[in-house]
Amino acid sequence: MYPSRFAYEAPTSLAEAIAILDRSGGEAKILAGGQSLVPMLKLRFAAPGTLVDINNIPGLGEHWLDKDGTLHIGALVRHEDLEYSTVIADSHPTLAAAAELVADPIVRTRGTFVGSVCHADPQGDWAATMVASGGQIIAQGPNGRRAIDVREFVLGPFTNALAYNEIAVEAVIPPATGTAKGGYLKLERRVGDFATASVAVNLDMHGDTVHRAGCALAGVGGRTIDANDAINGALKGKTLTPENIEAAADAVAAMAEPRSDHRGSADYKRHIVKTFVSRILSNIAHSEQKAA
């Protein structure tokens, strides 16, 4: 299989890349890790007139914490850069837990965090972790930069909020105000498969009280499911007692919109969501007890 014909551009600056996108009037597509786009080109699900390869643009491959603990992830940070990251484990545990579960180790050497969020696959792992953690996508276009809240960025299946002449240059994820706790659990049929169901939970703890709780789901709906309000409603201002955990798991499971398919029945997937929420929260509760 091979793609249909396209013009290939490999700009070496953001300004040049944006100018090409702008001139294309919507006929161009950005190529980042290519781990979703190249398969789509080969299957001819996508047939852009121009491909704008951003891999030669310097300055996009870094991720770092700034002084207040905000995590910045450049557009060319690969999945494996986060898997081997030495900076995110304590500050952004939800992302750290997901990193080794995205695709397989070889796909992870190329695929990018930002590209995955842009792709907005309902089964995508990174979009779920980011919706649970909060944060923004920084978009750059002909008129400069704007920050888009991730909850307004991932709009639907394979749809994001970028204009045709904008590039997502960075993801920005805030730190916890207290202690960051979190987890990511994913059920897959085999390593490297997309999620049958997966759950991202992110907690901002003040002592043993939940200051803010975030949650999002992948694989159990037509888009990334935003369960922030459900989990926060159940846990905000409370401690992680078995009763509160149970209530949170029920509230989140009610948000899932699973469909029966070859990966499992709708009931089964909803049950997985509930189990995963309570497992992540119980693990956090146990680790708190140990630390106390």
Binding site: Y8, G34, P105, V107
Partner: protein, 178 residues
Amino acid sequence: MTSLYNEVAADPGADTPTRRVSITVNGEQRTVDIEPRLLLAHLLRQGLGLTGTHTGCDTTNCGACTVLFDGRPIKSCTMLAVQADGHDVETVEGMATASELHPVQEGFKECHGLQCGFCTPGMMLASKALLERNPNPTEDDVRWALSGNLCRCTGYQNIVKSVLWAAEKMRAENGEEA
């Protein structure tokens, strides 16, 4: 298997836009004029005659087409050949020297790490990349690092043994040199 290379041949004709790219393949600089939609796997196999890189699934799942791109493993059926311009690509043909196998290749030979051999080039390159990063992997580390490479024959047991054998040999060699 149809590939762009067979259809447009080496000379795609005057009205087809091509791009001149220079890629270091197994240490040798190769300059080619290619259509941007040509996949790296097809350039390697049909264009450069390096048929050690296999295409199994052609859908980014099996890892048979794995090559090293600037030292890291990638699936060459999922990268455009033009993207390799200015980069370093290593295929299975680059692993051995004229007189000596790479320890990973020796390991596969010693421990019977292959049956039909179709997955083997990809397995060996992914293993080489693992050992460069982690010279002393556990069995779990090996299984994890090779989880993007599928084998329909061996049941993986002997592949894992082969990589552990190679790791030990490489550690011994490096110890001797130090």
